[in-house]
């Protein structure tokens, strides 16, 4: 049996639902880092989803949406607020997410970047080409993971991280990392995001703009005070800045 076949069967059983809880969990984690596994899962979902027609419709209790509304209302307000604020270099997050979905479907597909990772780079306006050396990236994992919008200004070499739906678990802190050709394969810390209620700005004066353009940025969840090892130890979300100028 080949590796490819193992991955395919793992994906198939994941979609079928017959994996044990620990295996399911492991597949969930792995698919964000393994495009081949992610693709295999999508393929199996497509193959088997026609079985969904066998599910009969059953009406849930009438007042159920009230509970859902209560839970999403706070986030909805934040989204509307973010959409109404025009911050230079930071696009409206909601639109960005949607645009990103299209972008991922069309230009790159799931293969080029890990599926659960969303990174996009745009200038201040969705409809204008990348300009003025300004880039924006979105960090968004699944719904249990935080989402950040990061803007990078290559002229001033400043990076600003703006939390969107991020919460910090007790005793934890977020740490920002960078990987460039200059600094080698190991992530280099850019410091902690100590107060995630507010945007954090970091100076990247020591980096060459050309290197920054191709840098990979990451945010990981670390113990209070930052990573004890100098390398990311917690769950990380990362991605390369990519220009998607039209």
């Amino acid at each position: 049996m080949t590796d490819r076949d193992d991955i395919d069967m793992l994906a198939a059983e994941y979609v079928l639902g017959t994996l044990e809880p620990a295996q399911r969990q492991s597949v969930e984690t792995r698919r964000s880092q393994e495009p081949e596994l992610d693709r295999a899962i999508s393929d199996w979902e497509a193959r088997l989803s026609t079985l969904n027609a066998h599910y009969d419709e059953v009406a849930p209790s009438r007042d159920l949406f009230a509970g859902i509304r209560a839970r999403i209302e706070g986030a909805a307000q934040a989204t509307r607020q973010a959409a109404s604020q025009h911050v230079p270099g930071v696009v409206e997050f909601a639109k960005l997410k949607r645009r990103l979905a299209v972008w991922r479907a069309g230009a790159l597909g799931a293969a080029a970047i890990a599926a659960s990772l969303i990174v996009v780079v745009l200038s201040g306006d969705l409809n204008s080409p990348v300009q003025n050396g300004q880039f924006v990236a979105v960090f968004h994992r699944d719904d249990t993971q935080p989402a950040f919008v990061m803007s990078v200004d290559l002229e001033t070499r400043e990076v600003t991280i703006r939390p969107v739906e991020a919460t910090v678990p007790e005793g934890k802190t977020y740490q920002l990392w960078i990987v460039t050709e200059e600094t080698g394969p190991k992530p280099k810390s850019l410091g902690l995001l100590e107060n995630i209620a507010n945007p954090t700005t970091k100076q990247l004066g020591g980096f060459d703009p050309a290197m920054l353009r191709n840098a990979t940025f990451g945010i990981s969840l670390e113990p209070e005070g930052g990573s004890p090892t100098g390398q990311p130890t917690g769950p990380a979300i990362h991605g390369r800045l990519i220009s998607v100028a039209q």
């Binding site: 017959t18 044990e20 399911r24 999508s42 079985l51 009406a59 509970g67 909805a76």
Partner: protein, 186 residues
């Protein structure tokens, strides 16, 4: 494939989702009204408990709200995308709850009863093709695939039901899935 859910077309649903991404909770409520019976049918069939299924359904719609920006129209239809989120959640719950087989024999007949439902609903081409491919499987194999997918049976539960070692069930599943893939040619 143009799938109608109730009175609402796929395009209507996509519009509602798009508005939801921008923070429109009323649009999301309409999306809920148009799709919740379908998703609830999935969750209830797997969890088999109404109160628990309603809790799960709420979680599922919160998740759909949060993940709305991830929907890729080119990859799957919106209802398939939503159904996948619902099924995944239900399977996660059921796997954690009943890692051991605990299904009474008396329940089984009512749970399986596949034929009537399967015959009625085989309308779309893709569906007919999958059913055709499923029909090529031996009866037992066909049944375990359907029980696993539609009702969330685990390997262990299937092993008990079919009086086979768990390893045999795994082998059956893998063979069946490979055969299905080959038959579907995708």
């Amino acid at each position: 494939m143009h799938v109608a859910v109730g009175m609402t077309s796929t395009r209507d649903l996509e519009n509602l989702l798009r508005q939801s991404i921008e923070g429109n909770t009323d649009a999301f409520e309409q999306l809920y009204n148009a799709t919740s019976a379908k998703l609830f049918g999935i969750v209830l069939r797997i969890l088999r408990n109404r109160a628990e299924s309603e809790d799960a359904l709420q979680d599922i719609y919160v998740r759909i709200w949060q993940k709305a920006g991830d929907f890729e129209p080119g990859r799957a239809s919106i209802i398939t995308w939503m159904a996948t989120i619902a099924r995944n959640r239900a399977i996660d719950i059921v796997r954690r709850q009943r890692p051991e087989a605990d299904i009474e024999d008396a329940d089984i007949e009512t749970l399986i009863s596949p034929d009537s439902a399967f015959d009625q609903m085989a309308v779309a081409d893709e569906m007919r093709q999958l059913d055709h491919c499923l029909n090529d499987l031996e009866d037992d194999r066909q049944q375990i695939v359907k029980m696993a997918y539609l009702e969330g049976w685990s390997r262990a539960e299937l092993a008990e039901r079919f009086a086979q070692p768990v390893g045999t069930i795994k082998t059956w599943l893998h063979r069946s899935l490979r055969q299905l893939k080959e038959c579907l040619g995708t």
